[in-house]
Symmetry: C2
Subunit: 195 residues, 2 copies
């Protein structure tokens, strides 16, 4: 059976992959429709707002998907420290498996548009906020005070995002391993302080 995905979904998926790999400004819409095996006109039929709407949809959809991934890993793990470790380890494995192309789905766009496109900047901020809230909720559930949980979520996500940059540039997972170990031990320390 051929791909049963709709034209709109194929465009969205192709855009997500290209934006992640080459950036928002570095990706052409012709390129998107070619890779999605869709006629050029379909893009403007499904995304009347053009490139900006496509960018915003990619940010929000990718953000929701990544959030679900975190939820899944956290649910599977026996405790939050293990969850953090698993997440960093999984990120490193994905980097190697995809030849250092699949990192954060929105980091490049976030940096590119932060000072140039308010609509897209807000979209990335919303997605980061949803991730931070989810992580903080998990830390609170583990018994960490809310303020401390928020701090942990912020430094956890900072470490992850920064490690993605270094790993892609250095073509090595060493930064991810170091950042993951640091994040895990920080969470562990926060837990023992509580207990």
């Amino acid at each position: 059976m051929g791909a049963m995905t709709s034209t709109k979904d194929r465009i969205l998926y192709a855009s997500a992959e290209l934006f992640r790999r080459k950036g928002y400004t570095g990706t052409g819409l012709k390129e998107v429709t070619t890779q999605a095996q869709a006629p050029f006109g379909s893009l403007y039929h499904h995304f009347p707002g053009g490139k900006e709407q496509l960018g915003e949809d990619v940010i929000r959809v990718s953000g929701a998907f990544f959030l679900q991934l975190f939820v899944f890993i956290a649910d599977e793990a026996p405790d939050v420290v293990t969850a953090v470790q698993d997440f960093f380890r999984g990120a490193g494995e994905t980097l190697v498996a995809t030849d250092y192309e699949d990192a954060c789905p929105i980091a490049v766009i976030a940096l590119e548009v932060a000072s140039t496109n308010e609509t897209l900047r807000v979209a990335t901020a919303d997605v980061f906020t949803s991730w931070l809230d989810e992580a903080a909720t998990r830390f609170v559930a583990a018994g960490i005070p809310a303020a401390r949980a928020r701090e942990l979520a912020l430094s956890f996500l900072s470490a992850l995002e920064g490690a993605f940059i270094l790993c892609r540039a250095l073509r090595s997972t060493e930064p991810m391993a170091a950042a993951g170990a640091a994040a895990a031990s920080e969470v562990r320390a926060a837990l023992t302080t509580v207990a």
Copy 2:
């Protein structure tokens, strides 16, 4: 006394600012020469390799400048923990002072070119490596074993880079504060283990 900077330096400086703000692919060379108040032809006179050579020069020059900034702050600080704290605090202050535009000088380019331009990717890797080596050297000088110092440098820089992303997207220095506190306490723990 007008600006005594050479045409080449003005082009380099304008490029650095624009690349940092709008990305490498998002910046046009017309824009660069306009902002540098230089005729378009001058760009190709001083940078025969075109945009790629300009990008590489910006990466390496900005990288060396940022390294000197780190050296300066570390030399002024009484100890490495304070140095790390000062660095994160200074980064946060710069973000606010520049309306969240002045973050890492090469992070956007690094993400944009990691999978698309090997010459520029190597340049960003060289710069990151120089920063990591400098940080690790400082940690070793403070009495931390080399392997641990390397790990600390990696998680320190990951935290810093990731915090830049979150701060720019959220338009808040909260991530920088949280990442800085975590990095400082990690270094402090490494020191007390030694002592």
